[in-house]
């Protein structure tokens, strides 16, 4: 009977969760059907908000083409932009075709607009007048002709192989070494891989060329903005990484073009044909893999969980010890300490946990070289201490004054009476409360991210920004929290019961046992 009800309860929770899940996927599922791009041409984009990478000076051009544009929004990276687009915070992203193709291939509900702007090529940059440009250009042209480049384009833009990799440098390199400056965060063109090696379309083409020339390659990853200056100053021989050839750039460096480039808009689509064959389950599986398997991301979640547990447990332990200390101080009943304690409690009760953490991190422990984790533990310990103190003190005060008097009348000293008579009686009341307060604390540690602690919530955040997909990381984090608190509530009930068993077993200690 009781078990049946519990089972039903759990089923209900799962059902509630599905209420979240189904719409999220139903959306993708239904998109396989009849949907169309949101805007057929730029003329329809009146009022739309366009996302740009910070520093890209395209506002004027876009405004000329779409005079009634709604506005611009600036982002630090492409993944951020894609998330915002999917979340309808913006309506289009203006960026080059490589990034757009990649994003569109991996997000079935996004589509590239047909208009082209600034038609050009991607190119490897060489110092002005460098004869190597022609040597490389010849090899690249051959690769264009024999289809290698098209193959690679597909591989890097569209393939879902999570183990994409570039060739090993297994050639002797007798012709020397080429120093390559490469952009470090332009997936899929040129970016850091999982193990810190450089990856991407540009990188693989470059390696192919280098192999033909028998050159060893030495990569120097850097910000995109640093590429041109590096070439110009002779610090590198070639620069690669999503470089679109423009007149201005061509004035200061020479280019070996390797793939057509242009700028256009990435917009939402409710029916991308490319994913028609992807079932609900497939979508689900892909998201799952991206969130947990790729780059061993589940490890991040586990680490975050560990951090959450560490912060919650340590601060509860320290806070509890402090609370007992306060209780004994309060028993002494000195007006000064009493006021100090109530001031402390009022402060903790009056200020949000996030603000308390920041106060500690930036002010109180500003000059102590504690890590953020230590500060978080201290902060939550202070918070837990205040609440635990309140709970214990209430329980202790609820013990009838007569108990104290009876103990004194028997010949107990004040402190002995407190330790042997009063505290043990209140224990069974306050212990379950302390536990449920601990569950609250566990949830509250989710704000530790404010001071850069990499807890569970923050881990989910990071994965989210990596996968450009909010659903899975967030749901996993939510589910973990849910089961944590669920588990804790169970344990709390057990403790409650065992307390009763311990106290009311009808045995005389030392005689019957």
């Amino acid at each position: 009977m009781k078990n049946k009800r519990r089972l039903m309860g759990l089923l209900m929770v799962i059902l509630c969760t599905l209420l979240f899940v189904i719409p999220a996927y139903a959306k993708e599922a239904e998109s396989d059907g009849s949907g169309e791009p949101e805007f057929a041409s730029p003329d329809e984009m009146g009022g739309a908000t366009v996302g740009l990478l910070t520093g890209m000076p395209f506002e004027d051009m876009i405004s000329q083409r779409i005079p009634d544009i709604g506005g611009f929004a600036y982002f630090a990276s492409m993944p951020d932009e894609v998330l915002a687009l999917k979340a309808r915070k913006i309506d289009a992203i203006f960026i080059n075709n490589a990034l757009i193709d990649f994003a569109a291939a991996h997000n079935p509900d996004l589509v590239k607009m047909d208009d082209h702007y600034l038609d050009s090529n991607f190119g490897f940059a060489f110092p002005k007048g460098d004869p190597q440009r022609d040597v490389w250009g010849a090899i690249i042209d051959r690769m264009k002709e024999d289809g290698t480049i098209d193959e690679l384009w597909v591989k890097w833009m569209e393939s879902d192989d999570p183990n994409k990799s570039v060739p090993e440098q297994d050639w002797p390199g007798n012709a020397g070494t080429v120093r390559v400056a490469c952009a470090d965060s332009f997936e899929p063109m040129s970016y850091y891989g999982e193990n810190g090696e450089m990856m991407g379309f540009d990188v693989e083409i470059l390696l192919n060329v280098a192999k033909e020339l028998d050159l060893k390659v030495e990569f120097t990853p850097m910000e995109f903005g640093a590429l041109m200056p590096t070439i110009q100053s002779g610090k590198a021989d070639v620069a690669i990484g999503d470089i679109v050839i423009t007149d201005e750039r061509a004035e200061i460096v020479d280019f070996a073009p390797y793939a057509p480039a242009y700028f256009t808009m990435l917009i939402r689509n409710s029916g991308a044909e490319t994913v028609e064959d992807k079932s609900f389950l497939q979508n689900f599986k892909d998201s799952f893999e991206r969130t947990f398997i790729t780059e061993d991301r589940y490890k991040m979640i586990l680490q975050g969980l560990g951090m959450t547990a560490l912060v919650a447990l340590s601060s509860a332990a320290i806070g509890l010890a402090l609370a007992y200390g306060l209780i004994f101080l309060r028993r002494a009943n000195k007006p000064f300490t009493n006021r100090l304690i109530s001031g402390y409690n009022a402060l903790i009760a009056g200020i949000p946990a996030a603000v308390i953490l920041m106060l500690l991190y930036y002010i109180v422990f500003a000059s102590a070289k504690f890590s953020a984790v230590v500060v978080a533990i201290v902060g939550f310990a202070l918070i837990y201490c205040s609440r635990a103190y309140g709970i214990i003190w209430n329980a202790v005060s609820a013990v009838d004054e007569g108990q104290r008097e009876a103990a004194l009348a028997l010949g107990y000293t004040e402190s002995l009476a407190f330790r042997k008579v009063i505290l043990p009686q209140s224990e069974s009341y306050y212990t379950p409360l302390l536990f449920s307060q601990f569950i609250l604390l566990l949830k509250e540690t989710s704000v530790a991210g404010y001071i850069t602690v990499l807890d569970l919530t923050r881990a989910g955040d990071l994965i989210r920004s990596r996968t450009m997909e909010a659903f899975f990381p967030l749901i996993s984090v939510a589910v973990i929290y849910f089961f944590l608190t669920f588990l804790m509530t169970r344990i709390a009930r057990k403790i409650d019961v065992s307390f009763k068993d311990k106290y009311y077993n009808h045995k005389i200690k030392g005689v019957d046992e």
């Binding site: 007569g402 008097e405 009348a409 042997k420």
Partner: protein
């Protein structure tokens, strides 16, 4: 030297002075009942003796030690004085036996085995051996109080203080506790008992303190206090114990009045007949004569008193209608009146004590 010597004990609160200069000696073996109206400092007196209250001034010597001296080792002195509280104050998280063993172990350093044996001896004295493994919440009020007494006794005190040991009890449980205390009184233990139970005061104690006016107003044997009280206040107090009084106004709650009279009759063992007659007469009197008269004179009131003699005999009813003198109030008004006839049948009319004060008896 007496076991307890109290010299010029004075205790003030912010807005009350319950004890003004009390001096008294108590010898070993005395069983003293402390009676008196509410709020006259009985509890305060008792609690000063074992220093649960700190006296404002004065000295209290217990077994040769001045407990008012800040240097005194209070826990030591308190071990010599058991105290039994109105609300029992058993430790709810411990079994009955553990309640009695705990102080022995923690304060006297007795071994678990010895403590247990002592506990069982004391529990036997109060008839509670069978409940040794029960928790206080599983006991009735009377049983709790008996355990509390056993706990005090297990410390082998020279003196036991009781502060209204039965007043938190259901009426049906008072007797069992009174029996325990009166058995205890026979063992020669020195006891101080604050109580409102006149049975206890009269039958058990060797000496009675009547407290009033900030001190021990009258001090004597039960016989002196109960049969021949010297002072006016003592008389009033003792007297009221066996009287039922009620002031009838025009808004009087008849139902409650009658119920309280019934309870009084029952408590005084008046016997069903005496009690019935008395109640009917009062009801008739109030509804037939007094209330109609008060309706006409709304600001007036009439006082009723029923006195019960020993063994429920000598029941008398006094109707103090002096305030209605001159308003034409009289119960003889119409001679043939049914009410008058009825009243005279139920009780015997005696000559009025003074004008306006009617007097009836039942024999």
């Amino acid at each position: 030297m007496s076991l307890i010597e109290i010299k010029n004990l004075h205790k003030e609160y912010e807005n009350a002075v319950p004890l003004k200069d009390v001096s008294v000696n108590i010898e070993a073996g005395e069983v003293i009942s402390i009676i008196g109206p509410s709020g006259t400092g009985k509890s305060t007196f008792m609690r000063c003796i074992n220093r649960l209250e700190t006296p404002t001034s004065g000295e209290i010597w217990v077994d040769g030690v001045n407990v008012c001296d800040p240097q005194t080792d209070l826990p030591e002195v308190r071990k010599k004085m058991g105290m039994v509280f109105q609300s029992f104050n058993l430790f709810p998280h411990k079994t009955v036996a553990e309640n009695i063993m705990m102080p022995q172990q923690q304060l006297l350093g007795v071994s678990t085995k010895e403590a247990y044996e002592e506990a069982m001896v004391q529990l036997a004295k109060v008839g509670m051996e069978a409940k040794a493994r029960n928790y206080p919440k599983e006991l009735s009020g009377g049983q709790k109080q008996r355990v509390a007494i056993a706990r005090a006794l297990a410390m082998h005190p020279k003196i036991v203080l009781f502060d209204e040991p039965t007043s938190a009890l259901d009426p049906s449980m008072v007797s069992e506790v009174l029996s325990v205390i009166s058995n205890l009184a026979k063992t020669g233990l020195t006891m101080l008992i604050v109580t409102h139970e006149m049975r206890l005061a009269r039958d058990v104690s060797s000496r009675i303190f009547f407290m009033d006016e900030g001190g021990i107003y009258e001090d004597g044997t039960p016989e002196q206090i109960f049969e021949h009280p010297e002072k006016e206040r003592t008389k009033n107090f003792i007297y009221r114990i066996r009287s039922w009084e009620y002031v009838v106004t025009k808004d009087a709650d008849m139902f409650e009045m009658m119920a309280s009279l019934e309870a009084f009759c029952q408590q005084q063992f008046m016997g069903r007949k005496a009690s019935n007659n008395c109640q009917l007469a009062v009801e008739e009197m109030v509804t037939g004569f007094i209330l109609p008269a008060l309706k006409k004179n709304p600001e007036k009131s009439v006082e009723l008193r029923v006195d019960a003699g020993e063994e429920g005999k000598e029941v008398s009813l006094v109707v103090d209608a002096r305030s209605l003198l001159g308003t034409g109030f009289s119960i003889e008004e119409k001679e043939g009146d049914l009410s008058t006839v009825l009243i005279n049948k139920l009780l015997k009319r005696q000559p009025d004590k003074e004008p306006g004060v009617l007097y009836f008896t039942y024999t």
